[in-house]
Amino acid sequence: MFVSPDADAHTAEARREAFSALFERCYPRVLRFVRGTGKDAMEAEDITSEVFAVAWNKFDLRDPIDLNWLMGTAINKLRDHDRRARRRRSETIPLSAAVEGAPTGLDPLDVLAVREALAGLTAKDRQVLQLMVQEGYSAHDVGQMLRRSEGSVWTRASRARAQLRKSLRIEDNDE
């Protein structure tokens, strides 16, 4: 049996097309999540492009990569990046950015307080809230991204909300 160079070229082109579609669909979502962790715009673009470089290296038409895989890789890249940089203390978001980013009707200082409180959570608890609340993913998807069970995601979300309330000194009215 002989596989022609044309067939190879055809498969390579199909692979490029499929990867381009994945990139177009998922890049803004991954970038938004990375930006949500407090990285500046340029750094977030760098980390996101690293995620897609890994994806391109692994991209196989017969075993497609999905958004959950990309987000899981982004989480690992962020951890690696933070470990290398060790600059958590200097990565506070400037007040000007908070003012620019705050939605109408909300006090920028309240927004800053929530960001501070989020920053005080453990990395995993923070990621669960970012992914479920800020990015709107289901507990099932977040479980796949973090390689945890759906149950443990719900537990973490509940614990993180309680911690956030404590940090912000607000009462739980759900009880």
Partner: protein, 334 residues
């Protein structure tokens, strides 16, 4: 406040208003093309078929080669393979009887006569390495340590250039001898980043005017309490990765560090660039379970490096105690 109200606040705290289904920018399309222009390890299905065929056809030759290899292996004793490790061997310290104050005093003497810029320069040349983390988030053992060389020059308007090249690899097991083959060749350009005005994300945009008081304020942002000597070292590292300070400023930094509690003298050693150095160590709360060791040039008194080593079980990365997880070495002025 119920969960829905709290979640509304959390959503409002997102630092960007960019929508998740936003169209790609022109720059992002360039990124896509750049990524797809690189060779990929994944093979397409037809290539896999071709490779299987290529492997199947000369099967007899492969069997013959294996027989030959086994025969030769019996006759020639194998050389020991380099051992894998998570990081390079820690620096070997010769103990010193000097106190922190005495080490800093000697450094001041060296700084007084050593060459150095008359004004702080927005440039930094370094050789560094950091523990590899797999895509699954696990630390990876290496046979060869592959440092990277970074040359950064930037300007007050935050324009600049950062050139990253592959450094000279060395064995992770610390044995002098044959260096295992690596993916990169020394000098190979790994990244060449150009920053337009306003683009370089400076940690410390201006250090030219920083005197003792200004540097103290800066270090205190990282280490607000007197027991946080390791955190203070992170401030020194952040300055050193993008500035070449004057000797006077280097002296101020040493005085500031010496004012923190918990700093200890490791002794003297030869760093990974072959330079004699004195080590000052402390634990950091920024990376609990890791000890930071600042390297001071015995020749010039300047701060020329940092080594981070796991010394406790609370380290953020699950590697054995005694593992070096990163180091950075900055160019000295002599």
């Amino acid at each position: 406040m119920n969960d829905d109200e709290l979640d509304r606040l959390i959503r409002a705290a997102h630092p960007t208003r960019t929508e998740p289904d936003a169209p790609l920018t022109a720059q992002q399309r360039v990124t896509l093309e750049r990524i797809m222009a690189t060779p990929s390890n994944a093979v397409t299905s037809s290539r896999r078929t071709t490779r299987r065929l290529l492997i199947a056809l000369p099967a007899v030759a492969v069997v013959a080669a294996v027989v030959t290899f086994v025969a030769v292996s019996v006759l020639i004793p194998p050389r020991p393979s380099p051992a894998a490790a998570y990081g390079p061997p820690p620096l070997t310290w010769a103990p010193s009887s000097k106190s922190v104050a005495e080490v800093v005093a000697v450094a001041h003497q060296r700084l007084a006569s050593a060459p150095g810029p008359t004004i702080a320069l927005r440039e930094s040349t370094s050789s560094s390495w950091s523990l590899a983390i797999s895509e699954a988030g696990e630390p990876e053992q290496q046979i060869a340590i592959e440092p990277i060389e970074t040359e950064l020059t930037w300007n007050a308007d935050l324009s600049g250039r950062r050139l990253t090249t592959a450094g000279k690899p060395f064995r992770a097991d610390g044995v002098t001898g044959e260096i295992p083959t690596t993916d990169q060749t020394p000098g190979q350009v790994l990244a060449d980043e150009e920053f337009g005005a306003g683009q370089y994300p400076a940690i410390t945009p201006d250090a030219i005017e920083l005197d003792s008081r200004g540097l103290t304020a800066l270090v205190q942002v990282y280490a607000p309490a007197s027991g946080l000597a390791g955190d203070a070292m992170v401030a020194v590292e952040d300055l050193s990765v993008e500035w070449t300070l004057t000797n006077r400023q280097e002296g101020y930094l040493l005085d500031i560090l010496a004012s923190y509690e918990g700093l200890r003298v490791e002794g003297t050693a030869t760093d990974r660039l072959g330079r004699p150095v004195v080590g000052l160590s402390a634990e950091s709360t920024i990376s609990p379970g890791e000890t930071f060791t600042l390297l001071i040039s015995a020749a010039t008194g300047r701060i020329v490096g940092i080594q981070v080593m796991v010394t406790g079980t609370t380290a953020p990365t699950p590697v054995p105690v005694g593992t070096v997880t990163s180091y950075a070495l900055w160019k000295d002025t002599e």
